[in-house]
Symmetry: C2
Subunit: 382 residues, 2 copies
Amino acid sequence: MTEPLPDLATLETPLALVDQRRLERNIHRMQSAIDALGVRLRPHVKTAKCVPIAVRQREAGAHGITVSTLKEADEFHAAGFDDILYAVGIVPNKIPHVLALRRRGCRLKVVVDSVEAADALVAAGRAAEHRFEALIEVDVDGQRAGVPPDSPLLVEIGRLLHDGGVELGGVMTHGGGSYAMRGHDALVAFAEQERSRCVQASARLREAGLPCTTVSVGSTPSALFAHSAAGVTEIRAGVYVFHDLVMAGLGVCRTEDIALSVLTTVIGHQPAKGWVLVDAGWMALSRDRGTQSQPIDQGYGLVCDEAGSVLDEWIVGAANQEHGIVTHREGLAPADLRQRFPVGSRLRVLPNHACATAAQFNRYLVSAPDGSWSTWARFGGW
Amino acid sequence: MTEPLPDLATLETPLALVDQRRLERNIHRMQSAIDALGVRLRPHVKTAKCVPIAVRQREAGAHGITVSTLKEADEFHAAGFDDILYAVGIVPNKIPHVLALRRRGCRLKVVVDSVEAADALVAAGRAAEHRFEALIEVDVDGQRAGVPPDSPLLVEIGRLLHDGGVELGGVMTHGGGSYAMRGHDALVAFAEQERSRCVQASARLREAGLPCTTVSVGSTPSALFAHSAAGVTEIRAGVYVFHDLVMAGLGVCRTEDIALSVLTTVIGHQPAKGWVLVDAGWMALSRDRGTQSQPIDQGYGLVCDEAGSVLDEWIVGAANQEHGIVTHREGLAPADLRQRFPVGSRLRVLPNHACATAAQFNRYLVSAPDGSWSTWARFGGW
């Protein structure tokens, strides 16, 4: 629902603002990068959990979506998305929910990386007389889940699924190790490692006579720094819709690409300490401190003025539940602190990690390039 | 709504479990401690944001509640609570909401610690022909907001409010510095500092001929370690309903007092590294790392078996959005890892910070002492 421009001064804070121009630029930049690689983009919708944003990704050229919860699968399927990859290893207590979605017409694919999970899926498929579809998760960086591409387990799981009546869709990996890379060359090399190892896994399945239609890789940094997608069929990425300070710290975006911010109000000061107290604490900003391990630690977020211009030296240095403490990066306590940041004035805070900050809200206030504003719903939970 | 015992194996995870026996023991322990001090307990309901829990606090003897958002004030007033303190400094954009609640019969008190906020409240009261009620926030520990008890500003703000037609209810402080205290003696000394400085502020207001009926102090650690409440009229505390690992690390509770846990399912392993992957990542556990600065760092939470018995040496060592990595505290990789933590089996995770972990859920599954289970709604947002 589009509305006339509200007076920000009258809005109760904290609230989540989305800059639609930046959002759409981020969507098109990623789509162009993946188009140039000649493969499909399957966005991970876990960042925004917002139907209007996923619709824009689809309109820009994306094929299918990736979800991190079955709640997301429910919501996006109800909104007309039917090609969905659930990218967290499946376990028995979730299989009835997967089955219900598939019986409602959702082409929901699940992920498996163990004999136990494969056995459970096969057994459930037999019991329900249903042909599930599964991808095998491949470990390309030792960061999280997955079967190493050279492990005998890969073919063993593939055969269990295939022979057990599960449609073996192929392989997938998440190159989360990209978040630890520093610099252009390291990111390019990481993207190639992710690609080559996942393609190696696909080759091993095919050599064993098993089907492997899908070869799915991705993370926002590796998607944007990949030089080749040879052997890959689709790339997944999520946080790029909003970007955030972690991505900016990696050199994946600029701070002026960050489309999500938290609008907050100055509630007081401790002038001798140079503190500006605001009504965005960790409940609004999240507890994510993802820039702590980067060269520039942004505290709980980088502070902008009400219009969105970065105040470079001011960060949210500390946070309680509903209180943030804005401090100067070098600890200055300017004499005109109260005048520069009057009680009742508004600031915006750019998030360390957009997935975590967005999760604290159930709606976004979206500013369109034409100056109009809309409210877009967001959901959470499981 | 009470239901028969569900089979935990069939429940989709992650979910928030509450042990009602522990919850009620925690409520009664705090109420008894405050009763023994001869003052009133005004619970802070920001931890659980759950009406059935606040009802139990009231039944145990609490007077009024404290909230951290006006959303909480809305929800609890609608549920029959009418004596409410909103404990975050008031700003102009929230005054219309406060006015609407007060006109619906809610005795909502706000907090002020600056001339600017006092002026805004006076002006809004005059414009609306309404008599607001405010407390002045006092800074007892240099941790956050408030006016120092010996500052001329204290009396200036009091006079502005009083002369401007606002009901000056008194003074309040939050002794958040208690969270940094180590050991019994430090906590006792801190509680006395919190009490004496807030009482000093009340004496200065009265000496200036201003009213000061309420002298409100509190935090869970200082509430439980206070030896005296002389001059105090009420104590506020919140996290004690659930307790958490931060409180246990401070010696304020035992791990077996922690009433909130996250039920999670094993989704896979990395046996060579000793990793057990579970479906509770930071979205379920929160990003709170409150034990990081304590002698025992509990990672993203301490792991228990499905029945709730602590597995002392296992913590959630790392977390992605929907993946947790359970690791042994000393990095062991036992040969029987897969057998000890089978795929599909369930674990419980005790939270670092109950306020943050609970905030990730919109309901609690509550186990009663008689073996029955109920679902209690929880709300979030602003």
